[in-house]
C-alpha cells in the first residue's frame, strides 16, 4: 500500500500523489540527502529525527503518519521528518535548508483537509512542531495566552478552563490539531460567529522566516498601531511565508451558561426564517447556528457519532439546525431560549416540526457530537470529495441539489459510485460543507465535479474555500475567487519572504 524504500533522488522526482493535477517537483529544490541528515543530527536530539536514510534507516511505514494527510488522499514521500524542541532549533533547520535549497513542509496536527501539511514530490523535509508544546504564559485577568505553536488545541482548552476561559476557536479536530496550524490556516470552526476569526483574536506571533531569521512579533498588547501589521500575513498563509513557532492569543471568558437545541425542520426553506427569528430573539446569547441536512444526520447516527433523536421527533424532517447559546446568567438565557421555542412551537405556520433541548452537560456534548461527528461519519462511509464553500444562505440547498443532479446526469449516482451528496455547515457564517461521498476515488467522479463545483461557486461570487484553505488541492482554482491582480500581488509577497521557494512548495499559490 505504501511506497517501498527508494533512493532519495528517485523519490524526489516522483510525484506519488494519487490524484489529479500532479505538482511538478520544483526544479530549484534539492532533496534531503544523508549529508543533510548528518547535519540535522548535529543540531537536534536523536529523538527529534525520523528518517529512512542512513544511519537512521527507519522503515518508510514509520513516516506514514507524517507523509499522509488526514483524509488519506494525499500521500507524500518524504524521507525525513524533524521534530525540533525549540524555536532556535527551527531557525537553524530552516537556515540550513535555505542555504541548501531543501524544501520545508511545516506540519502541526496534520488534520488539514486540503493536503497542505504533507510533502509533495520534491524531497522536502517535514518539520513537525509536535515537540514544542509548552504554554509560555497565561494571564487570567486579560485572558491573553502565549503558547508554543505545537500545543494541541484541546490541551490549551483544558489548560485555561480552570481559570474560566475558553479558546476563541473550536473545531472537530480539536483533539489533534495544533494552535500553530490553526493560525497558519486561519481556522474558522464552530465559534467564529460569536468570537470572530483568528485575524482578530491573535495578538502576536513568533515566526521563523524562510531564511532562518526569528521574527518576534509576540505581543500581548490589545492595541498596537505601529506600522504594518505583519502577523496578518502569516495568519492564513498556510506555512508558505514562514513557520509559526509561538502564538499569543486573546481567550474569551467561559460562558456561565451554555445550552443547545437541535431543531427538526420540515423543509430547507425554513432555515433562513429560523435564522432571522433566532438572531432577533436570542440576540447576544446565540453562539452557534449549524445546519445539517437529513442525510448528514442519518450518517452521523449510523456511525455512532452521538445519541440520536427519537424516531417520532425526526419523522418528516428534511434538515436539522443546532443552535447554541452562551451567556452570563443561566436563568436569563433559559428565559430567552424558552420564549424562542414557544414562539416557534405555537406559530400559525410553524417553521419547525419539533426539537430537543439538552438538559445536562452530557447531553449538550452529545448533541454537538452529532454535528461535529458528520466529518468522521463521512470518512467512515466512503471516500469523500469535500467542498468548503461560501455561498449565499438561500442557495445552500440548491448547490447540493444541482451537484447531485450533475452526478446523476453523468450516471455516477449509485452504491458503487457516488453514494451520497450531502450538505452541512456554519449557517451563521454563510459557510457550506458540500460533501460528495463515493465508494472510491475515480477520475470520472473528479472530472464531473471539478471545475463544475468551482464554477457554480463563482456564479454566486462565493469562495471556493471558506475556511479549509488552499493547500495543494485548490491552487489551480484560486482564480475562481480572487482576481489575477490579487494573485499576482500574493506571488510578489511570496518572493519577498521566500526568494528560494523552500517554504511549503506547491501549496496555496498556483
Amino acid at each position: 500500500m505504501f511506497p517501498t524504500r527508494q533512493a532519495a533522488r528517485r523519490l524526489a522526482l516522483q510525484s506519488s500523489r494519487r490524484w489529479s493535477h500532479s505538482v511538478a517537483p520544483s526544479p530549484r529544490l534539492n532533496p534531503v540527502t544523508e549529508k543533510d541528515l548528518a547535519y540535522f543530527s548535529s543540531i537536534l536530539q536523536p529523538s527529534s529525527i525520523l528518517s529512512t536514510l542512513s544511519p537512521s534507516k527507519l522503515p518508510a511505514s514509520e513516516l506514514d503518519p507524517y507523509n499522509t494527510d488526514w483524509i488519506g488522499r494525499y500521500k507524500g514521500t518524504s524521507t525525513t521528518v524533524l521534530r525540533p524542541r525549540t524555536t532556535q532549533e527551527v531557525s537553524e533547520i530552516v537556515k540550513y535548508c535555505n542555504e541548501k535549497r531543501i524544501g520545508v513542509v511545516p506540519q502541526g496536527g496534520n488534520t488539514g483537509l486540503v493536503g497542505g501539511s504533507v510533502p509533495t514530490g520534491s524531497g522536502e523535509v517535514v518539520v513537525n512542531l509536535g515537540n514544542m508544546s509548552n504554554v509560555r504564559h497565561f494571564d487570567a485577568v486579560s485572558g491573553i495566552l502565549v503558547a508554543d505553536a505545537g500545543c494541541v488545541l484541546q490541551s490549551l482548552t483544558d489548560y485555561i478552563a480552570p481559570q474560566n476561559h475558553i479558546m476563541p476557536v473550536d473545531l472537530g479536530a480539536k483533539g489533534s490539531c495544533q494552535i500553530g496550524g490553526n493560525v497558519a490556516t486561519n481556522a474558522g470552526g464552530l465559534r467564529l460567529m460569536r468570537y470572530g476569526s483568528l485575524h482578530g483574536t491573535v495578538l502576536g506571533l513568533e515566526v521563523v522566516l524562510p531564511d532562518g531569521t526569528i521574527l518576534d512579533l509576540l505581543s500581548t498588547l490589545r492595541k498596537d498601531n505601529t506600522g504594518y501589521d505583519l502577523k496578518q500575513l502569516f495568519i492564513g498563509a498556510e506555512g508558505t511565508l514562514g513557520i509559526i513557532t509561538g502564538v499569543s492569543i486573546l481567550t474569551p471568558p467561559a460562558p456561565q451558561a451554555s445550552n443547545n437545541v437541535i431543531l427538526a425542520l420540515p423543509s430547507f426553506e425554513c432555515v433562513l426564517p429560523l435564522f432571522k427569528t433566532a438572531k432577533r430573539q436570542l440576540s447576544e446569547i446565540m453562539s452557534a447556528f449549524e445546519y445539517i441536512d437529513r442525510t448528514a444526520y442519518d450518517l452521523a447516527v449510523k456511525h455512532g457519532q452521538g445519541r440520536a433523536l427519537n424516531d417520532e421527533d425526526v419523522e418528516g424532517a428534511a434538515c436539522f439546525v443546532l443552535i447554541e447559546t452562551s451567556g452570563g446568567k443561566r436563568e436569563h438565557d433559559e428565559e430567552k431560549l424558552n420564549e424562542l421555542l414557544e414562539t416557534l412551537m405555537t406559530a400559525d405556520k410553524p417553521i419547525i416540526n419539533t426539537g430537543v433541548m439538552s438538559q445536562t452537560p452530557a447531553q449538550f456534548a452529545s448533541m454537538w457530537a452529532l454535528r461535529e461527528g458528520v466529518t468522521e461519519a463521512v470518512s467512515k462511509e466512503g471516500k469523500a470529495y469535500k467542498y468548503d464553500i461560501s455561498v449565499p444562505l438561500s442557495s445552500f440547498k440548491d448547490v447540493v441539489d444541482v451537484t447531485r443532479e450533475r452526478l446523476r446526469e453523468k450516471g455516477l449516482l449509485g452504491p458503487k459510485a457516488v453514494k451520497h451528496v450531502i450538505g452541512y455547515g456554519h449557517v451563521g457564517d454563510g459557510n457550506l460543507h458540500l460533501n460528495v461521498v463515493a465508494d472510491a476515488y475515480t477520475p470520472e467522479i473528479e472530472a464531473a465535479l471539478e471545475p463544475f463545483v468551482y464554477e457554480l461557486v463563482a456564479k454566486y461570487k462565493g469562495s471556493i474555500s471558506a475556511e479549509h484553505g488552499v493547500g495543494v488541492m485548490k491552487t489551480h482554482a484560486l482564480h475562481y475567487s480572487k482576481s489575477n491582480t490579487a494573485i499576482e500581488m500574493m506571488k510578489r509577497i511570496k518572493q519577498v519572504f521566500d526568494p528560494n521557494g523552500i517554504m511549503n512548495p506547491g501549496k496555496v499559490l498556483p
Binding site: 433523536l309 427519537n310 421555542l341 414557544e342 419539533t354 430537543v356 433541548m357 452530557a362
Partner: protein
C-alpha cells in the same frame, strides 16, 4: 367494557440531583468532601429509571395510570424534577431539605420514600430507582426500601417486562456471571442498570408541557421522618497519584521484570 381485574399501575421514580458525571471533581481544602460549586444534574441511573417508566407507558399505554417523580434535596433539586417531567413524568414531589444540610443517607431516603408511598391515596405498584448514586456509590436505597415495605425487589435490571394482568414482572438482572432472569410479583422495587435503556433528549413539546405539571412540596417533618445522618465522614482524600509505567526493549526483558516483581507463569 369487560370488567378487568387489572389494576392500573402507579409508578414512583425517586431521583437524585448529583454532580454531573462529566465534571472533574476536586476534594475540598478541608478534606471533608468535594467541591460542590460545579454543574449538577440528574443521577445518570435515575435518568434511566425515568426513561424506563416512560417507555413502560409507551408499551402498556393506559395501563400505566401515573408516573410520579420524587426527590429529596435542596431547593435547586426542583430543576431536576422539571427535567424528569420534561422526559414524560406526570407530577413531582419535592421533599425539600435546607441548602446547608448534609446529603440524606440511603436509610433516611428509604424511610422517607416509605412514608410517601403510604401517603399516596392511589397506592404505588412499581418503584423504579437508579441502582446507585454516582456521588456516594452506596447502592442501598432500593434494597432498603424493599425491605421496609416488605416488597419484592429486582436490582441491577437490564430488561423489564411487566404483565399487568398477572400483576407480575419478568426482570433480567446483571450479575457477575452474566444475566439472571427472575419473575417478581407486584408491588415491586426495581433498580436500573446501565444497559436498561438510553434516556431520550427532552423534546420541546414535553418541555413546554412540563412547566404546567404540578410539583408538591413536602418537608421531612410532614412525612414524620428524621433525615439526620447516622454516619460521620471523617476524611476525604484523592487517590494516590499514578506513577509512570516503564518501557522495555524486548519480550525477554518484560518476562524478567515480571519475574522480579514476583509474578510467575500459571501454565
Amino acid at each position: 367494557m369487560r370488567p378487568s381485574a387489572v389494576r392500573l399501575l402507579n409508578v414512583l421514580v425517586p431521583i437524585k440531583r448529583t454532580i454531573d458525571y462529566a465534571v472533574k471533581i476536586r476534594v475540598n481544602p478541608q478534606q471533608t468532601g468535594v467541591d460542590t460549586n460545579v454543574k449538577h444534574s440528574m443521577n445518570p441511573f435515575d435518568e434511566i429509571a425515568v426513561e424506563e417508566a416512560v417507555r413502560l407507558r409507551e408499551k402498556l399505554k393506559d395501563a400505566v395510570k401515573s408516573i410520579k417523580v420524587i426527590t429529596i434535596g435542596p431547593p435547586k433539586a426542583s430543576e431536576t424534577l422539571r427535567t424528569a417531567l420534561a422526559m414524560g413524568a406526570d407530577a413531582g414531589i419535592h421533599v425539600e431539605v435546607p441548602e446547608a444540610s448534609p446529603s440524606p443517607e440511603p436509610l433516611g431516603v428509604a424511610k422517607a420514600l416509605q412514608a410517601v408511598i403510604k401517603r399516596e391515596k392511589e397506592g404505588v405498584d412499581l418503584v423504579i430507582l437508579g441502582k446507585q448514586a454516582i456521588d456516594d456509590d452506596a447502592g442501598q436505597t432500593g434494597q432498603m426500601l424493599a425491605g421496609l415495605m416488605g416488597w419484592s425487589q429486582a436490582t441491577f435490571a437490564s430488561k423489564i417486562v411487566v404483565d399487568t394482568e398477572k400483576k407480575e414482572a419478568s426482570v433480567t438482572r446483571e450479575i457477575d456471571g452474566g444475566l439472571e432472569e427472575i419473575r417478581c410479583r407486584l408491588p415491586l422495587v426495581l433498580t436500573t442498570d446501565l444497559r436498561l435503556n438510553e434516556p431520550r433528549y427532552a423534546s420541546l413539546p414535553n418541555i413546554m408541557k412540563a412547566k404546567k405539571k404540578p410539583i408538591e412540596k413536602l418537608s421531612a417533618s410532614d412525612l414524620g421522618v428524621d433525615l439526620t445522618p447516622i454516619l460521620e465522614t471523617l476524611k476525604v482524600t484523592e487517590p494516590p497519584k499514578r506513577t509512570g509505567g516503564q518501557k522495555v526493549e524486548s519480550v525477554d526483558e518484560l518476562v524478567q521484570k515480571l519475574k522480579d516483581a514476583g509474578i510467575t507463569a500459571v501454565a
